[in-house]
């Protein structure tokens, strides 16, 4: 279970955050949410697919790291084997909550008290003895700020993909070397045939909104699928 609290220097003065990566720290996930502003980094390591939020049915972009629930093929004994770690992982256990409503809505930094990274005695401190935020926390806040803007930009991106019917459902039927098979459902990819039929004015509007480059990055990212299949093949079951 999660227990979210708005970050407070008095209440959270003593808290520490465990760094590093591992299943015990909550990193054993099959995919994480990503957003177009992050696609350049993501596509260098992970395939980008699209899936639906089970709570709202809304689409979001996902960096895929495995073929079944709780399977992260990048996790190894000594950490996370990739040159880039998705921002939605790096930000743990923090998140942006929105205080107030409508025009007065302000993003506030919050954290999940029940997250396995939260500790009383191990890891990086959030505040120093004077009660000022540490460099570690400042970095996390900067990251959250990027993430927040990235996710807002992403809403328009997803709307544009749907408007131009640029998503299509895919089923990943994969046979691994050990003879096992996996059929991964619930994912969508860029509909390439329709993408290549888009006319000038549509392409221009997508480009101006900053949506065109990430579309092609998502297409290109699918070549990373080979890498995670190989990672799966190397697993000793």
């Amino acid at each position: 279970m999660s227990q979210y609290e708005v970050l407070n220097k008095d209440k959270h003065r003593q808290l520490r955050i465990k760094t590093g990566y591992g299943a015990a720290l909550g990193d054993a996930v099959m995919y994480v949410m990503t957003y177009p502003m992050e696609f350049r980094d993501i596509q260098s390591c992970y395939p980008i697919l699209f899936t639906k939020d089970p709570n709202t049915g809304g689409f979001f972009a996902a960096a895929v790291m495995g073929f079944e629930a709780d399977q992260n093929l990048f996790l190894q004994d000594d950490g996370w084997d990739a040159s880039y770690i998705p921002a939605t992982i790096q930000r743990q256990p923090f998140l942006i909550a929105t205080g107030g409503e409508g025009d007065t809505a302000t993003p506030v930094v919050s954290l999940d008290r029940d997250h396995p990274r939260v500790s009383q005695d191990e890891g990086e401190a959030l505040f120093d003895v004077e009660g000022d935020s540490t460099e570690f926390l400042n970095q996390k806040i900067a990251l959250l700020d990027n993430l927040h803007r990235g996710l807002q930009h992403s809403n328009g991106f997803i709307d544009a993909l749907l408007q131009h019917e640029l998503l299509e459902q895919i089923t990943l039927d994969i046979a691994f070397n050990d003879g096992s098979k996996n059929s991964v459902q619930g994912f969508y990819s860029i509909a390439e045939e329709r993408l290549y039929q888009l006319k000038g004015d549509v392409l221009e509007s997508l480009n101006q909104a900053g949506y065109l480059q990430p579309v092609f990055m998502a297409v290109a990212s699918l070549s990373r699928m080979r890498d995670i299949i190989e990672r799966r093949n190397r697993l000793r079951v």
């Binding site: 089970p54 709202t56 049915g57 619930g186 969508y188």
Partner: protein, 520 residues
């Protein structure tokens, strides 16, 4: 070419008029650029109010809405729609609290395996529907047929809708006039003008002048202004088979805002009819349809109020003022005469058991859209086929509805006794019942590809109501035995899975309101 059919006039709005307009216009795209000019006008009386009763559909409505080009999210939001997964019958067998379900999902592997004889051979079996489909396991907890992540019109278990017919007609009107190029004329038809050859040439209206057309669609309700009044096509009563001729309809609010919305139409048998209970998101539509020859209006009202009292309390029952609707069960002798075809209540009406009214409109409009005669010359051929087909549909409706009464073991009132009289049973139904004692209905029992009630529905009613078919130990039966056992097992497992995965109807409808379904 003078006798091209290019101008269609629909007289009458409501679900029948607007649904027909939508289906036909969507197929024939009213488009000034088109090679063939095509016009569709709907004349609606501004003085006839729409009736806002809840109504049930069949799953075919999903395809119909899609065909018309409506988004499911819009439809659900604007028509107070909820999901209907079948009908739940109470007190139909003995009147002592017995229940069974008629779900929309056909039995597992129905195309290849007939599970009925295998179920009949089981000792200590669950109810038929529970054994052959996971769908009925969702009914007790009022679960939805899909998740918010399921694309629009797609499903995890097959479903139709409960909807507000008044709001539905309004949404269709808006869509037809704004998206599909249908012209809406608000006027009263005063007079019907015949052409020399006996066709309808035009109608004279009070405030829109004379309106001419090539094909006239009569959606004027029970009045049947064109087919009945003008052409004098006789009405054929079928009350000898289906006794119910009166309905008392009302609406009951939910007792709590978050009260569960039933997954099925609830049908509870009474001493001379039955009570429907249809759960919309905003309220329940409840009514009693009965035979006025078998029970007085006072007694029928008392039974309706007793039902409402039981489900919604004394206060709800006290504030109910039921609206009385008289109807003659039956249909016109023919439905398409010369250049006039009747759709909806102008063509016929029977009690709403098994929700045949809207699906008949879909079938009629669908056939007209597809078979629309290009010239007057071929119209009579299309009309002849249409009449044969729709007479078959009406006969099937009457036989299938009567099946519910014939199978009942109730003997507690003259109504149920009369329902068992041999003269009250259509001959074909008697034959079928005799045959089904030795062989369960399956694919060979379907007479046409577009039958209104699929053979699986007969299985659900027969075996739901305790009918027995003698076992026959044929080769295929022996061969299928192991597979049947597997299917029963898989079905139970799937039921558990779905129970865990699916939200309640209320929860999903709230999400549709907030987020909507995705199109893919």
């Amino acid at each position: 070419m003078e006798d091209r059919i290019s101008r269609i006039i629909i007289v009458g709005g409501g679900s029948a008029g607007w649904l027909s307009a939508g289906v036909i216009a969507a197929e024939h795209r009213i488009d000034s650029q088109a090679q063939q000019p095509f016009e569709l006008l709907l004349i609606e009386s501004p003085d006839v109010p729409t009736i806002g009763v809840g109504e049930g559909t069949w799953p075919s409505m999903r395809a119909t809405l899609q065909r018309i080009g409506l988004s499911e999210t819009d439809f659900i939001r604007k028509c107070s729609a909820s999901f209907k997964q079948g009908t739940y019958f109470r007190d139909w067998q003995t009147g002592n609290g017995d229940t069974y379900s008629h779900p929309f999902t056909v039995p597992a592997n129905y195309a290849e395996t007939n599970l009925a004889p295998h179920w009949l051979a089981l000792t200590d079996a669950p109810q038929f529907a529970d054994a052959v489909t996971p769908q009925t396991a969702l009914f007790a907890d009022c679960l939805a047929p899909k998740q918010i992540t399921t694309p629009e019109y797609a499903f995890m278990v097959n479903y139709a809708y409960h909807l507000d017919a008044g709001e539905f007609a309004e949404l269709l009107r808006q869509h037809c006039t704004e998206q599909l190029g249908v012209t809406h004329v608000k006027a009263n038809v005063l007079q019907i003008n015949a052409a020399e050859n006996g066709d309808i040439q035009s109608v004279t209206t009070d405030c829109a002048g004379e309106i001419a057309g090539d094909l006239f669609i009569d959606c004027t309700g029970t009045r049947s202004l064109l087919l009945g009044e003008h052409f004098k096509v006789p009405f054929q009563s079928r009350q000898a088979y289906l006794f119910n001729d009166t309905a008392l309809a009302t609406q009951v609010p939910y007792t709590e805002e978050d009260q569960a919305i039933q997954s099925c139409t609830q049908s509870t048998a009474q001493t001379a009819g039955w009570i429907w209970d249809i759960g919309l998101p905003t309220r329940r539509g409840i009514g009693h349809t009965y035979s006025s020859a078998h029970v007085s209006e006072d007694e029928a009202t008392a039974q309706l109020l007793a039902y409402i009292k039981e489900i919604a309390g004394d206060k709800a029952a006290a504030s109910v003022v039921p609206r009385k609707i008289r109807f003659q069960p039956g249909h016109r002798r023919e439905f398409w005469h010369r250049n006039c075809v009747a759709i909806g209540m102008s063509s016929g009406f029977v009690e709403p058991l098994e929700a045949s009214a809207l699906v008949m409109i879909e079938l009629a409009a669908g056939m007209i859209a597809e078979q629309l005669p290009p010239t007057r010359e071929v119209m009579d051929i299309v009309a002849k086929r249409y009449n044969q087909k729709f007479l078959r549909h009406w006969n099937q409706i009457i036989e299938f509805l009567k099946l519910h009464y014939v199978l009942s073991a109730r003997n507690d009132s003259p109504y149920w006794q009369d329902n068992h009289a041999a003269t009250s049973i259509p001959e074909k139904l008697s034959e079928q019942l005799l045959l089904w004692r030795y062989r369960s209905p399956w694919h060979q029992d379907a007479e046409a590809v577009d039958e209104l009630f699929p053979t699986a529905s007969y299985q659900y009613i027969l075996y739901g109501m305790g009918f027995r078919t003698e076992p026959r130990h044929t080769c295929s039966h022996q061969q299928d035995q192991r597979q049947a056992a597997e299917l029963f097992q898989k079905n139970a497992a799937r039921a558990t899975q779905l129970q865990q995965a699916l939200p309640s109807n209320r929860e999903l409808l709230n999400k549709v309101r907030e987020f909507g379904f995705q199109k893919l």
